[in-house]
Amino acid sequence: MSISDMALQQQETLVPEERQPDTPSFAMIRTLAGIAMLSGFLVVLVYQITKPIIAENKRIAIEKAISVVLSDVSSKRDYFLGEEGLILLDADQKESSLEGEKIYAAYDDKDELRGIALEAAATGYQDVIRILYGYDPSCQCVTGIKVLKMAETPGLGDKIAFDAEFLKNFKALDARLNANLDAIQNEIVTVKHGAKTEPWQIDAISGATISSKAIGKMINQSGQKVIPLINKHLNELKHPEKEPGKTSEINPEATPETKE
């Protein structure tokens, strides 16, 4: 018996029942409302219990990612970069109330700015690819990427996350600003495998051109927009006002190891 047959039968038995006004509508509404209340209660309960744990998981994931894309970092501060300028975020501040980009400024143990980690996203072959990339203002270059989320084809597109040759592209990817300081001088692009000649080009993985292109595209898009802004506020980022409770330690060794 196929599923559709079963469903059809179910449907047939259901139709005559609907015409029998046995149960008063009040009982139906009462039941549905009761179930809805119960379900609302359960969902909210679980949501409240798991919320801090999920936030903690996300924080650990971000910190791990930051220590991948920037080297020698020991603390970070979360900023919001938007029209109103640079806003330092509290750990629990709501992000949705602000317009702009969230950036993470990372410092080494002497409180020197090591670089800035930014999130970028673009549609890959299957779904949105979300990455974190590090930008170092001292060399005006991208220092590394870490894929946060993707659904690329296993064995082909998913190489963007761990293929050593490909990741080497982002060791010192040129992201110099132009003379007006309002955009990146040389657009960051992905080129065909083996055709990389300039420091701002990304050498695609052969067989995974779409996924590789998506990475180049998202870095360029985000970079064109955010890096000039970072440059504008560089002094603030370099010498932050010391406000307690807004700097969080990064200790990559202490974070639990998850499956790569």
Partner: protein
């Protein structure tokens, strides 16, 4: 081609990321209703229609949920609203177009619990499509579903006449066929991305 453009979303949902053959959504009707081409065609049409309706409702609900900041109720709202929307559509169609109702008839309620519908709503939310993109996505998904269903029905009608070992009759054969179709559809990979 720009991955956010409407054409790309449409082609992507219809061919290279076909709902049935690449994402395994809506397999129940795919295996259940694909024995005859005619039923397959009606089922495809009905699904496309429901996809459009539920895509629009899901877009509205998501906006509402974001407005009130209660995203954790998303799933419950989606499933409830999609089910009622389908019911409503069924009643309206029955009232105003008996011909259409006869064609879609029994398939409409069946589709409510089809995972392709909820999958569509969830994917369009996760990918943060805007209204037009959602429409293109749902149309693409519907067309892709119909194509897969028709192809399968055609193959199975031919297969009726073939001699197959008794062990592999029925579901086994359908799955193998689906596997081959899926393999063929992988050839659409990267379609519309501007390079091959």
């Amino acid at each position: 081609m720009d991955p956010d453009s409407l054409t790309f979303i449409f082609i992507n949902a219809a061919l290279s990321n076909n709902f049935v053959l690449a994402l395994f959504l809506g397999l129940c009707p795919f295996l259940g209703v694909s024995a005859k081409k005619e039923t397959a065609w009606n089922m495809g049409l009905a699904t496309m229609f429901v996809m459009l309706v539920s895509s629009i409702s899901a877009f509205g609900i998501n906006w509402l949920l974001n407005e009130f900041d209660i995203q954790f109720l998303r799933l419950i709202c989606y499933i409830a609203v999609i089910a009622s929307a389908v019911q409503l559509v069924e009643m309206v169609v029955k009232k105003f177009s008996p011909t259409l109702f006869r064609a879609l008839g029994i398939f409409l309620p069946l589709i409510t619990t089809n995972c392709a519908i909820l999958g569509l709503a969830l994917f369009q939310t996760f990918r943060e499509y805007n209204f037009l993109q959602s429409l293109a996505f749902s149309l693409g998904a519907g067309v892709g579903f119909t194509i897969a269903l028709m192809l399968m029905a055609g193959l199975r009608e031919k297969l009726e006449l073939a001699k197959v070992p008794t062990v592999s009759q029925g579901a086994t054969m359908s799955l193998m066929l689906a596997g081959l179709l899926s393999l063929a559809f992988m050839g659409f990979a990267g379609l519309g991305s501007g390079h091959a």
